[in-house]
Symmetry: C2
């Protein structure tokens, strides 16, 4: 693995493809952290395994597990899923696995962004985050691809979505947050994204999902289904604080054009009714930073937008909500060539994210 | 990775090739253990890196490093050598990486033998050995090959040599030791070797190198250079206790025939003068099991036979001994199509083995 510091993907002719473009595989991490995953993570493990199995229907899945969890992961996962030892602080492959880029000849490289647990000492979610921050280069080494070292720029994979044709979508709430790159202006942040993703247009949604503790990652509120078309998490309940947030995103998108000059077609994807954490769930979570991780009644950032696009499937969350079926039908109509697999994901959601957050495609 | 328990390599048509047959690559482990590698392993690391670089001239080298050592390993090794995180108790890839076998179609599988630190609670060299013992299946998982689970049989890779044509060579001192498989007869041990290496003839050298704390692994005293031909560690000094040991092996080999009915051609490879550990070296070694690891003046099991055959090189140890050059010339004559690379290996030897011990070929 060569570490590249003197050049950028754009300068070298590498771009990040859209998630709907073909994958070689997918990276996940086996959940273990007792202040993220209630009651020792036994329920979360099962959900992670279901997600891995669904993705493995059409692409090679590699699950990273700590040395302590390797045997458990190996025993729970089918033989066609690869388990490799790799240390991490938690299990959010989307946010600390590399962003993969490729050139016209099909050569693949990784981008190793800096990671500081979604806000570092400002408003990060745990400490330390050193093992997470070392995963991207370790994964590039494992996959034997060269890596662009951009650790001086804090970015999580879940805070960007690209269409593969020059457009990147982010939220202001996240990318302009105080805990990430406060020394950089919006224009400087745009320049980094353009250079490292090889895009020419940044769409800045104002915000994400209410109470999303990632500072409102884009991947929980809006996702490309193809170039020029997105799904947007939506509620018709005007009393819900999310209404104005989704509305603000819709207003932005209605006026936006992408890198190709196209207007963005927006498909509304309903949100489930607010999901709140129970006292019983909270009792199963270890403390973090001398404080409870969650408090009973706390609203979780549940959204159907947090799905993964595999080669032949859409792997999406369900919450036991009446909207589960409707959301599934909408995605099925938008991805007619892929079969939608819906996985009950409350046990992932309690950790603070969902299916897109725990996966990273390898191209 | 499928775990195979109901069949054997021989039954499935898989055999272990000779080390001189083509490799896909080589596995090594970054040294770290402070009771094996003097003064924190800094000198050993340099020697390991030289070995890795020499092997990487003609095959892909993967170095396993603990999470704690990953950055050090990555910084010391060139970019064309892959570093992967993998926990171990020490750095002897030969002894706990899988034995690879392949079939006529070229499919590769691994054999996962049991490992108990060269003798378990009887006369093992450290405790615990759990991480070492889990490496073989982890490496098969990493390489995405199925694995024969033979963990109920204790065997180290350094205790066997095969010619790839039906013959396996071992030492009685090691394979019949009390600390390995004392419940099995010699015939039962032969049966396991025949089934898992797909051989039909076991050559039982009586012993190995004096003071070899592996219970005298074959790979330190005798190695195939091609089917029907071996090099044997040799001394002309009749006052050296090693003389009778090497003589006993020679006498055995002179009467032996291999699986093909061939007599064995023996090339004597001189030993260096006895190498003893210094007080200064001992002072740099942490204690192990409440006792000093080595004592000043202790003789080490130095031998030129402990070389690695890569696709295009012979990577052999040197000890700063007058015999270094002679041994190199002998091996160069025996391997005319490979260039011999000699690496000063005292810092590996102090750990208790040599270049063959710290490498395992991937076929």
């Amino acid at each position: 693995m060569r570490r590249i510091t003197e050049s950028t993907p754009a300068a070298d002719g590498f771009r990040m493809p859209g998630e709907f473009e073909p994958h070689r595989g997918c990276i996940m991490i086996f959940p273990e952290r007792a202040d993220s995953w209630q009651y020792g993570g036994y329920a979360a493990r099962k959900a992670f395994v279901q997600v891995a199995e669904a993705i493995a229907r059409s692409e090679k899945v590699t699950v990273c597990a700590s040395d302590a969890q390797y045997d458990n992961a190996r025993a729970m996962l089918p033989p066609w899923i690869r388990v490799v030892e790799m240390s991490s602080n938690d299990a959010w492959a989307r946010d600390y696995a590399p962003t993969f880029v490729k050139n016209e000849e099909g050569e693949v490289r990784g981008v190793d962004w800096g990671f500081n647990a979604w806000g570092g000492l400002q408003d990060g979610l745990y400490f330390p985050w050193d093992k997470d921050n070392r995963m991207a280069r370790k994964l590039c080494d494992l996959l034997d691809v060269d890596v662009y070292d951009k650790r001086d720029f804090i970015l999580e994979g879940g805070s960007i979505h690209v269409d593969g044709e020059g457009t990147c979508m982010v939220t202001e709430a996240c990318l302009l947050s105080e805990g990430r790159n406060p020394e950089l202006t919006r224009e400087q942040i745009e320049a980094v994204l353009c250079a490292y993703l090889n895009v020419s247009k940044i769409l800045w949604l104002p915000c994400g999902i209410y109470q999303d503790e990632t500072n409102e990652h884009v991947d929980n509120i809006c996702a490309f289904v193809k170039p020029g078309e997105v799904v947007l998490a939506w509620t018709e309940d005007r009393d819900d604080v999310q209404y104005e947030m989704s509305k603000a995103c819709l207003s932005y998108l209605e006026k936006a054009v992408d890198a190709k000059g196209r207007r963005i077609k927006v498909h509304k994807l309903p949100l489930p009714k607010p999901v709140t954490v129970t006292a019983e769930e909270c009792a199963g979570l270890d403390a973090c930073w001398d404080a409870p991780t969650r408090t009973p009644g706390e609203r979780l950032a549940a959204s159907y937008v947090n799905f993964y696009i595999s080669n032949e499937n859409i792997v999406m969350p369900g919450f036991g909500d009446p909207a589960d079926e409707q959301a599934k039908e909408i995605l099925q109509a938008l991805f007619p060539e892929r079969e939608v697999v819906q996985i009950y994901a409350r046990d992932i959601l309690i950790g603070g994210g969902n299916i897109h957050c725990i996966t990273q495609q390898v191209i």
